[in-house]
């Protein structure tokens, strides 16, 4: 297994406004023990990814993206085009080349 974990992160439905209006981000994560030496995490899960996103991608108003250690209500998280609820939500262990999508639900019409 390579040292770094490559992921594609997508934001849409307005969530991208908090990320410099950029919808697609190709990221490369270092080893989780290097990045979070004080945590007990051995592998990257969505939980640690949210910490990384907050520290590295999120440009403004984190309360519009995060709430506690999860995403705020109204954001749907998709792992390779499927609801994260099907994969354990925060506990899902990220795999090489995963596509993780954060979709703010729309209410307009």
């Amino acid at each position: 297994m390579p040292e770094t974990l490559k992921l594609q992160i997508n934001f849409s439905g307005g969530a991208e406004l908090l990320f410099d209006k950029i919808k697609k981000h190709n990221i490369e994560l270092p080893s989780v023990r290097k990045y979070l030496p004080d945590s007990k995490a051995e592998k990257w899960t969505i939980r640690e990814l949210l910490v990384w996103i907050k520290g590295n991608l999120l440009k403004e108003r984190p309360e519009l993206f995060l709430q506690g250690d999860s995403v705020r209500p109204g954001i749907l998280v998709l792992i390779n085009d499927a609801d994260w609820e099907l994969f354990g939500e925060l506990e899902y262990e990220l795999q090489q080349n995963d596509n993780i999508m954060f979709i703010s639900t729309l209410h307009g019409g």
Partner: protein, 295 residues
Amino acid sequence: GTETKGTLPKWAIERYSRQILVPEIGVKGQEKLMRGRVLIVGAGGLGCPAGVYLAGAGVGELGLVDYDAVDITNIHRQFLHGEKMQNISKADSAARSLRSINSRIKITAHNIQLSASNALEIASRYDVILDCSDNVPTRYLLNDVSVLTKIPLISGSALKMEGQLTIYGYREVDDKKKEPYTGPCYRCLFPSPPPPEAVGSCSANGVSGPVPGTIGCLQALEAIKLLVGRNRESLLVQRMLIFDGDDMTFRTVKLRSRNDRCAACSDNATLTELIDYEALCSMPANDKELDLHIL
């Protein structure tokens, strides 16, 4: 002429021939459409295209709910309202336009603000609800109406260049099984409303007309498929369509099953009647935004 094919009169065979020819519809499907009753909540950017195709298809009864009046800023996307309909009730204006397209069907304009006090009574007269609304409280209200009445909810939304579509509260009718399949409801996915400051609206953030146009067409298509009895593999049940008009990408993503802790639709549900949705969401049940400072 009173000649019929099955129970279809000859005029209907002719008038609807182009869709009767579609194998997924057929004569039997046309009969079901003509017995079908669809409630369209919101005669705006989604409700106009949805309404026009359901009227065209000969759905027996259409209800249109809207409390609002036609405004000049609506017309770019809400095409059932001509320029001359400004300040007229949107439900009335849309009903009038739809009657000119199909005089054979029953069209009812519900010129009111849908709320906890009237929604169940209105919805119970229909077989399918289309959520073509434009605000969060109405979306929670319609979900709970759908759960309490067991009427499926075809939920569309649009903002800027993006759209979303799925069916909530779908129930499979199957007498052989003890526990027929039920799809997730809106609250299974979104147990808590979003913070108001995170909610965009067409009046504050804008929308390109063909985006709700596309989603509204697809809501009509799902309603037609649902009425003619297409199964859940064909329908957007436990799947959501995510449309980005700027790069013209569509994703159909897989959603969770019904949440067995859902406050609305699970066996452990606490919901027994409609509540105050503006209070639940800390937002008004409309899409009014007078501050065009961005311009």
